[in-house]
């Protein structure tokens, strides 16, 4: 980040020279650069998770296939899900939180720029740490929800589960810190006049998500801590012979796991709520309803976790209660779908790539929602549990829903991020391949589930009538592969400088982020705008409203915009914190307390922790005054 003094002519933008080079990226505290780092790294993890999915589909192409071994198959479905949930969709959302929230609320950065960098580095190290397990032939193989007591040392000796549980603990840390940061940013750094209900919908949905993150991640952290104690020190939390109850893990996991579902989908809903109005040339229909529905989803999302556990046998009272709340949460979700439809209704819709993805989100997410509300009913769920019907449901929601929303966001915000338009034709080809691929892959899975095919089966018998649908799904998966490939080529071309210059406002949009240059200068707003409505930039352009764009705000600009200096302490703290977790690995997995191993672990962790403390103190001592 530049610390050079900058000067400005009367109402031109402040001239600025950003530092370039690797070191400037390692030490950056600029929310836009951190957003781009999240974007690129999560897309790479996404590619990895996609290749793992292809391995699964190729294995299932034929009955009784031996393309990959059963063990490798277990590793593939575990790592596919873990990667997609924690290393692809969540950080892809985080890319937009980082890049967009300060721009949308009219701020120059987040509340804690260095902590923001720390969140990113922890995420990156956590992701690399989990995936490094492949190098040690210890890839996690216990499924993404790692049910106890399969994850206990008795059934999972070796280090595969250790990589998984410690990696998730690191990633949880990263997400929670980002949560504190964004809640503070949204509450405290809004531009003058930007009241809560003038905030763009994406910021609103992100706001709800941050609360879900900071409230749900502590619960899985406790679940993971108990697992670490069981595996490292021989406690009995999930060990039935000594009275432990594996159900405890299920409760702690799904108390986190269901809010996590909304952590994955709400940002995409926010993006779609930004994209659809722009391409329909209308304001979002009933925006307050969309906001309150998001809030209600956040609240009720904490009261539905046991619908993942209907087959456990919690009793009719618990089952009825959770069936009711689960059906209830379909209401605010459906409200939003109607809002999006009525936003498009009567609008002058242009089918640019971002809008194609956004409309696809509405269409496919509705299908996923409809199959989802089916297993709100316990008797039906008893039939569907652990079948491919469930796989079909959550892939419609997460691929047809979350991923399409996020791709819409990439195509929509790319010009703002990088200053150049993505290729429209490649985007549309990618969209078409996605649309075909998703439906050909996941729709047949409904039938497979109804026919009784069990989720996570390595093989299925010949002559069971499952061949055709499985082959369709595998063919569809390759459509998705090529869809991703075309989009990645598009992104790569964009990064290499192809594409026409975007200008400040390529889509004629309504919100503040479009009123500044593309890509934005590192201080975002030379002059902070004063906001008078929920569509400030639209009002300025089309309704004769008060000026918010830099060129139109009266008065001379500042000579110099002071910004926080870059810092290398965040990455150092992240390295030390990551190493503290890594040091659990050697002594882990025995399932019994071993004094020598424990002593060794402490001897390793002690100096690392001291190193971390030193870095934290240096961080506190560092002068981060904007300059």
């Amino acid at each position: 980040m530049s610390t050079a003094a900058t000067h400005v002519a009367t109402h031109a933008h402040v001239e600025h020279e950003e530092e370039t080079g690797l070191w400037s990226w390692i030490t950056t505290v600029d929310h836009k650069r951190i957003g781009k780092l999240y974007l690129i790294s999560s897309l790479l993890f996404f590619a990895l998770g996609g290749l793992e999915a292809l391995m699964i589909r190729m294995q299932l192409f034929r009955p009784e296939n031996n393309f990959i071994s059963a063990q490798f198959y277990n590793e593939m479905f575990t790592m596919h899900a873990t990667t997609m949930v924690f290393l692809a969709i969540m950080p892809l959302s985080a890319a937009f939180f980082n890049f967009l929230i300060p721009l949308q609320i009219g701020a120059r950065d987040v509340a804690f720029p260095r902590m923001n960098a720390l969140s990113f580095w922890l995420f990156l190290f956590g992701g690399l740490f989990i995936n490094s397990s492949f190098l040690f032939h210890a890839a996690p193989d216990g499924g993404w929800f790692g049910y106890a007591n399969l994850t206990g040392s008795k059934y999972s000796p070796g280090h595969s589960i250790d990589f998984w549980m410690l990696g998730l603990a690191i990633l949880g840390n990263s997400s929670m810190m980002a949560g504190f940061n964004f809640i503070t940013t949204i509450l405290n750094l809004r531009a003058p006049g930007m009241t809560l209900f003038r905030m763009p919908i994406f910021t609103w949905m992100s706001f709800v998500v941050q609360f879900l993150v900071v409230m749900s991640f502590p619960m899985i952290t406790v679940g993971l801590i108990l697992l670490i104690f069981d595996r490292n020190y021989g406690t009995n939390f999930y060990f039935p012979p000594n009275g432990g109850d594996p159900l405890l893990w299920q409760h702690l996991f799904w108390l986190f796991g269901h809010p996590e579902v909304y952590i994955l989908i709400l940002p995409a809903m926010g993006i779609v709520s930004e994209v659809l109005p722009v391409f329909a040339r209308k304001p979002l229909f009933g925006a307050p309803f969309v906001i309150f529905s998001g809030i209600m989803i956040g609240f009720v999302g904490f009261g539905v976790w046991s619908h993942h556990m209907f087959t456990v046998g919690l009793g009719p009272v618990a089952d009825s209660a959770f069936a009711t709340t689960t059906m209830l949460i379909a209401v605010p979700t459906a409200v939003k779908i109607f809002n999006w439809i009525f936003t498009m209704w009567g609008g002058k819709i242009s089918f640019k790539t971002p809008n194609l993805f956004a409309i696809t989100f509405v269409f496919l997410f509705t299908i996923g929602g409809l199959s989802g509300v089916m297993h709100a009913s316990p008797p039906i769920d008893l039939q569907q549990q652990d079948s491919y019907f469930i796989v079909a449901h959550f892939h419609y929601v997460l691929v047809g829903g979350a991923l399409m929303g996020l791709f819409s966001g990439i195509y929509f915000y790319w010009p703002k991020m990088f200053g150049r338009m993505l290729n429209e034709r490649l985007g549309q080809i990618s969209w078409a391949l996605f649309f075909i691929g998703i439906n050909v892959t996941f729709f047949p899975m409904h039938f497979l589930g109804a026919m009784g095919m069990i989720r996570r089966s390595w093989q299925y018998p010949a002559g069971a009538g499952l061949d055709m649908y499985n082959q369709m799904a595998t063919v569809g998966a390759f459509f998705i592969f090529f869809a991703v490939l075309v989009s990645f080529i598009n992104f790569a071309r964009g990064l290499m400088g192809h594409g026409e210059l975007a200008g400040d406002d390529p889509w004629d949009a309504a919100t503040l982020e479009w009123s500044i240059p593309s890509p934005p200068p590192h201080y975002n707003f030379a002059k902070l705008p004063t906001v008078h409505s929920d569509r400030p930039f639209w009002d300025e352009k089309h309704e004769g409203g008060p000026a918010v764009s830099q060129a139109k705000i009266a008065g001379p600009g500042p000579h110099h915009v002071a910004m926080p200096p870059s810092s290398y302490w965040p990455i150092l703290v992240a390295v030390f914190q990551g190493l503290v977790f890594v040091a659990f690995i050697p002594g882990s997995g025995s399932g019994a307390f071993n004094y020598d191993a424990f002593l060794k672990q402490v001897m390793i962790q002690g100096p690392i922790a001291l190193g971390m403390l030193f870095c934290i103190l240096a961080w506190v001592r560092e002068d981060d005054t904007p300059r």
Binding site: R114, V222, T235, N236, G243
Partner: protein, 212 residues
């Protein structure tokens, strides 16, 4: 972490009063304090899960020792009193810091750290006593859930003691950037929170054993 990361520089646009972006926040609250409240909210869920685990395993141990076999509610009451008193000294430290009575602040911060450290000492004594009574981390569910719950609370207190000592140093050396009173207040928020969590733990883990 210091509190003032607000990008500074430009004034608001013309037609508005000039305002100092260093000090200005939308809610009028300090960033650090607001963020710390969200952290405390989050930590409620952390301890809530640990206490929930303890409660759901209460009375489920297959073998002894059981709580009543090892607990000495008198000793734990004393350590609870010590911790409660540390909240008093902490509150005084915040008061002195806000009114810029420097030696008082340093004295009260050190007193709080000392009381916190003696609470941790009580806990170490208690743990070793229980261990010699036969209650181990691995022996039964009570041991597992008791040691993990109270151990994590003790860790929170120990981190708090470390924080207070470092803060005393920083305060004495005038190394704290931004509002010093605010920095002490944030440490106070943490300290009172850890204290309140102990009240809940003391009630559910210890006192409940003597209700029936």
């Amino acid at each position: 972490m210091t509190s003032h990361a607000v990008p500074a520089g430009a004034h608001a646009d013309a037609g508005h009063e000039e305002f100092d972006e260093h000090a200005w926040t939308s809610l009028g609250l300090d960033h650090m304090k607001l963020a710390f409240w969200t952290f405390l909210g989050s930590d409620c869920f952390f301890f809530g899960s640990l206490i929930g685990t303890y409660m759901s395993y209460r009375g489920q141990s297959l073998v002894g020792p059981y709580p009543r076999d090892v607990f000495s509610v008198e000793v734990t009451s004393i350590s609870t009193f010590v911790l409660l008193m540390s909240s008093l000294t902490m509150a005084l430290a915040v008061l002195f810091a806000k009114t810029n009575r420097r030696s008082g602040t340093i004295g009260m911060l050190l007193a709080t750290a000392a009381l916190g450290a003696s609470f941790v000492g009580f806990q170490m004594f208690e743990f070793s006593h229980f261990y010699h009574e036969g209650l181990t981390l691995q022996g039964n569910l009570f041991g597992s859930s008791f040691y993990v719950l109270t151990g994590f609370h003790g860790t929170h207190v120990a981190i708090g003691v470390l924080w207070l000592l470092i803060q005393t140093l920083f305060y004495g050396k005038r190394w704290i950037r931004g509002d010093e009173g605010n920095a002490v207040e944030v440490a106070g928020l943490y300290w009172h929170f850890v204290d309140i969590v102990w009240i809940v733990i003391f009630t559910f883990v210890y006192l409940m054993e003597y209700v029936e």
